[in-house]
Symmetry: C2
Subunit: 398 residues, 2 copies
């Protein structure tokens, strides 16, 4: 295969693709993986590929819908405070919500509608047949859909599966992610192992392998791209215009380099390509730029493969800028920002000066699109909360 | 110890505490656990109990801040397009961002400021000493705080710890949570094992043990409350007004039952108490009521012990009600709601008819405070997004 991109090392990027183009590339290169059977007990966080239907009517037989006394409704006809009707212990049995109904009983008197008087239960309110009773199939009928396809399984879903007696579900397969850290010990990528593994898990993937730091060797990197077994390959480092930046060349050698150089700050040296049908995302070696490109592109690819919503996984809020955010027209810029006391946001550092230290002092980020030259003070912007909602106060209050 | 509450079985609650009172009880009964050392590699999601400081200046020596050519700045004095200055290969060395600076070099010419002409590098722009170079301590000085106490460690924090060479951090201890499922196979609590374990992990806990379904036996339950080893005990089931509802009595026997009966729907049979200094939360056996009381009270207790923000862990949004939400004044009611196409919310089921099937068809919940009798159509409410932001489309688009 030939590389449509000239070698940018020592030369610089002649052109940069837009972030929107890169997202479109991701969307074209990825689709949800086929479904696989997963034990319900291990399915937390998985996405249902097929709807779960009720295997049987629930409840299977009549059961108490509340705590109270199971009675024959006809024996309570005419009861009132002026005409309490005594019931024998045999025909007024205490039940808890969920208990099977005793034989012959067809209603559950709520606590308070009967009084205990000398060992005899006295009913002061009549009750209609079926009152306080769940009938077979009231919750769901056999065959009806109880959890829709596409639902990510959380606590409530696991509980419902257990209640249904469903032990195996058809879930979207968990994409196998190969993580490669390129570059020697002096570049930033060597510190990215744990962060990228955490992000891969968050976005629904399973780490197939994590290798590095790898030497800046084109053939070795190409071989790492070509090895079978991954659904997505993410390689951090050696993507820029330095002499050792062999990752784009290795990708072009192993398969196709479709895009190299992004109009995005930080993250301009990102690259996108395909090897043997597997999407390969090249992240910059600078750690914050790498995490930025993960969130915007690599994570998007993974979330699409995992059948998760592809857009930003962070909650957002609208806030006003406390200070000006400047941006070059034609380049998308991502500012790490901090929420101030009055609910506005201020940049922690310029998009042009990335560094994890900025990220860990921030509450989230603001992405300024390429069309914009930035925002004046007081402008309303969307903040992606990367850490704020999880940020506790250590004083034990909140 | 004596039980300040009369036995409510077969009688019903004489009074119900407010949700606000229950939250105050939780806040009074819990505080962050002491710190413990945790390997940085295992610290994802943990909360820093002590700030992390830089163990040394970073960088330790001068290094390239960008890809380019490392030069002696003085040799570029007077360079311009009309006066290109040739440099020998020895005094213009290619470097990548992050490389240590070669001996003698004090600036990094960016790609584009030099041209290659017949094997000789020609400089067309002068550069100042230090330009394109990070000096020792530029990122941080030894001893300066790089991650604040109270920060929950995410991907960026793990990367920064790795870059700093920090291998152990002081993190808030992970609370040990004992989960007890009370009630025989016919009540709902037996399906709560996986859901409660998932919620315990989400809220920063480690499951100490998970036992059940346990028989409705007061003494056995009391013994399970009294066994040492847990920082928080959560018991689901057998809390209501039915004859088998022995959990509150067991708690009163083992320690103190401080509160039983909540003005909350679903969830009215919840209870709160203490055994040997360990908070014990009683959840209703009905599964959706149990998950509701987890989110509002048990999860709050756990998040406080874990030094996480105690309030609702879900992202929220403001939306308008598509239909009326009715609520009894004096009772807080929690409606499971679905987002409609036009951005408003409609109830999936009444708060009075709980059921996990409602939760799995919902996008979140709206909590109507006890002071309110509900909302008319079109009212603006806060929606806690329990599942919506994670809800994908299975058509592979989004």
């Amino acid at each position: 295969m030939t590389n449509p991109f000239p070698d940018v090392r020592g030369v610089g990027f002649a052109a940069r693709a837009s972030l929107a183009d890169a997202c479109r590339w991701i969307d074209g290169a990825t689709a949800p993986l086929p479904a696989e059977p997963v034990p319900a007990a291990d399915a937390l966080g998985r996405v249902l590929a097929e709807a779960v239907t009720a295997p049987a009517d629930r409840p299977t037989g009549p059961r108490a819908a509340r705590d109270g006394l199971a009675v024959r409704a006809e024996e309570t006809l005419g009861a009132s405070a002026y005409n309490p009707i005594p019931l024998t212990p045999n025909s007024a049995l205490p039940v808890s919500a969920g208990d099977s109904m005793p034989d012959g009983a067809d209603a559950v008197l709520p606590v308070g509608s009967a009084t205990l008087c000398g060992g005899i239960v006295e009913v002061v309110d009549p009750i209609a047949p079926g009152d306080g009773v769940e009938r077979p199939g009231d919750r769901w009928r056999a065959g009806t859909t109880v959890i829709d396809a596409g639902r990510r399984l959380g606590a409530a879903e696991l509980g419902l599966l257990a209640a249904l007696g469903v032990t195996v579900v058809a879930a979207a397969a968990r994409p196998r992610v190969r993580l490669l850290l390129a570059g020697g010990p002096r570049c930033g990528a060597e510190s990215l192992g744990a962060p990228l593994a955490a992000l891969a898990a968050r976005d629904g993937g399973a780490v197939e392998s994590l290798a590095g730091p790898l030497p800046a060797d084109r053939d070795a990197l190409a071989a790492a791209f070509e090895a079978p077994g991954a659904d997505l390959i993410v390689c951090a480092g050696r993507t820029g215009v330095g002499v050792d930046d062999v990752a784009p060349l290795a990708l072009a050698n192993a398969g196709r380099l479709d895009l190299h150089g992004l109009a995005l700050r930080p993250g301009e040296s990102a690259g996108l390509g395909v090897v043997d049908g597997v999407p390969v995302i090249l992240l910059p070696g600078e750690p914050l730029a790498a995490l930025t490109v993960w969130d915007l592109l690599a994570g998007r690819a993974l979330r699409r493969l995992a059948a998760l919503p592809p857009a930003s996984p962070y909650p957002t809020l609208r806030a006003r800028t406390a200070r000006k955010l400047v941006s070059d027209a034609g380049t998308a810029e991502l500012y790490r920002v901090r929420l101030t006391g009055d609910g506005s946001v201020e940049p922690v550092a310029s998009a042009a000066v990335p560094g994890l230290a900025a990220a860990v002092r921030s509450d989230g980020f603001v992405l300024i699109p390429a069309e914009s030259e930035g925002y004046p003070p007081g402008a309303e912007v969307t903040v992606h909360l990367t850490g704020a909602t999880l940020r506790p106060k250590w004083d034990g209050r909140g």
